[in-house]
């Protein structure tokens, strides 16, 4: 058991160091290798981490809904831990995206925020998954918490396309408040490569944190079970003692 433990510990250390190195290389590539964008200049470089955070967020939320459905079908606690871990990591990525976006938008669009379909959808997405975490905090029974949060997770996931479609329809009937500088039209090949690398590095961070979060949840579960057993054995011993005394 201790050997196995130190083994997996070494593996995790190696993985963490590898991902840390990747992130440093990605940072270097985004700052120095990628060419300067013609109109937006230096600030455009935030895009490499902004887009990377979004892609990781999408993957995390897909894992979350998969875990929610899997929990309802199998009732195995591990899918509940996976659901919680991926939602937390997804919310983290979403927050990074929501913070880096306005930093870029202010010099480029002239406003910090605009109610564009994609922005509004992300904001609602963020609120929905924060509510998921709040709900988990407010239900005490573990099994009920797992069940209810899985149902809510599926409802929240179903809502996301509806939010997006409604915002798209809404915005086509209203004038745009600002002219959106589209960077989708033709990406420089070096920029594309750097972006791909950054997405890969951030995805690595996301998966690393997700696995660790999952492990913490599993340990917490094991700890609760042990504590329960200790308490029930202590109660047994006490009642035996009480019986033996007179």
């Amino acid at each position: 058991m201790p050997a196995e433990h130190s083994n997996s510990m070494a593996g995790r250390m190696a993985a963490t160091l590898f991902i840390a190195a990747l992130v440093m290389c990605a940072g270097y590539a985004a700052l120095f290798i990628a060419p300067e964008e013609a109109t937006m200049g230096l600030i455009q470089r935030i895009f490499y981490f902004h887009v990377a955070a979004w892609s990781s967020m999408f993957i995390a939320f897909y894992i979350a809904v998969f875990a929610n459905i899997a929990y309802l079908i199998t009732r195995r606690a591990k899918f509940d831990w996976l659901g919680l871990a991926s939602v937390e990591v997804g919310v983290m990525c979403c927050t990074i995206g929501l913070v880096t976006g306005p930093i870029w938008a202010h010099p480029v669009w002239g406003v910090w925020w605009t109610w564009d379909a994609r922005l509004a959808t992300t904001f609602i997405l963020w609120l929905l998954y924060i509510s998921y975490l709040l709900l988990r905090g407010l239900v005490d029974e573990p099994q009920r918490r797992a069940m209810l949060s899985a149902v809510f997770g599926i409802f929240a996931f179903l809502d996301v396309p509806l939010v997006y479609v409604s915002n798209r329809l809404w915005r086509t009937t209203h004038p745009q408040p600002v002219i959106l500088g589209g960077d989708k039209s033709g990406l420089d090949p070096t920029m594309g490569k750097v972006l791909g690398f950054c997405i890969f590095a951030i995805l690595g961070v996301m998966i690393l944190v997700l696995l660790d979060r999952y492990r913490v949840e599993k340990l917490r579960h094991d700890f609760d079970e042990l504590r329960f057993e200790v308490e029930s054995r202590a109660a047994d011993a006490q009642s035996n003692l009480a019986k033996a005394k007179p």
């Binding site: 509510s131 709040l134 407010l138 239900v139 005490d140 915002n167 809404w170």
Partner: protein
Amino acid sequence: MTTARAAAIILGKELRLEFRTRELLTATVVFALTVLVLFNFAFDPTAADARRIGPGLLWIAFLFSGSLMLNPSFARERSNDTLDALRMAPVSAFAILLGKMLANFIFMALAEVILVLVFSVLYNVPLAGVAGRLVLVLVLGTAGLVITGTVFSAISAHARMRELLLPLLLLPILAPLLIAAVEATASLLTDPPALDRTWVTFLAGFDIVFLTASWLLCDFLVEE
């Protein structure tokens, strides 16, 4: 017993319970009226302003009062453990949910009728000409509100601070419904009124998506 019949019995029970005291309905209407009155002080709207912001105001009032009103739907089954009795009854979980949804729909619809009339009078927005189409929008929007709201009331009933939790769960999910309902209502207040079919279709789609989801997931919600 068929689902429809079981749902009708649950509906009857919910209505009897509510009309004995009328607590929920009174509180909902008074709350929404307060929102309408405070709106006047916050924005001091002219008749033209009221036409422009009115639909949003109405739907915000409906959503907020709905998220308060739907709370007891499952929570009050907990105080005397009557949810266990319901579960033991030989009816499907969906029948329980459907019965409660229908009851909540009726309460919400009653409150909305009063509020729309008061809004029309207080803010000088004549609605008689578009009454039929307005009812269609109200029915579709309210259905979406009570379908998701009843399901989330079953979720939040088991949580601490449930009165606070239900609006937090419900209001973000209802964002697309709010957009669609407000736009559809606004299209009725233009001159001449022209009901925007896109938004009516969207509302119907919203209702269908979440009714199907609650049908698929209801066993997990009502189960012990």
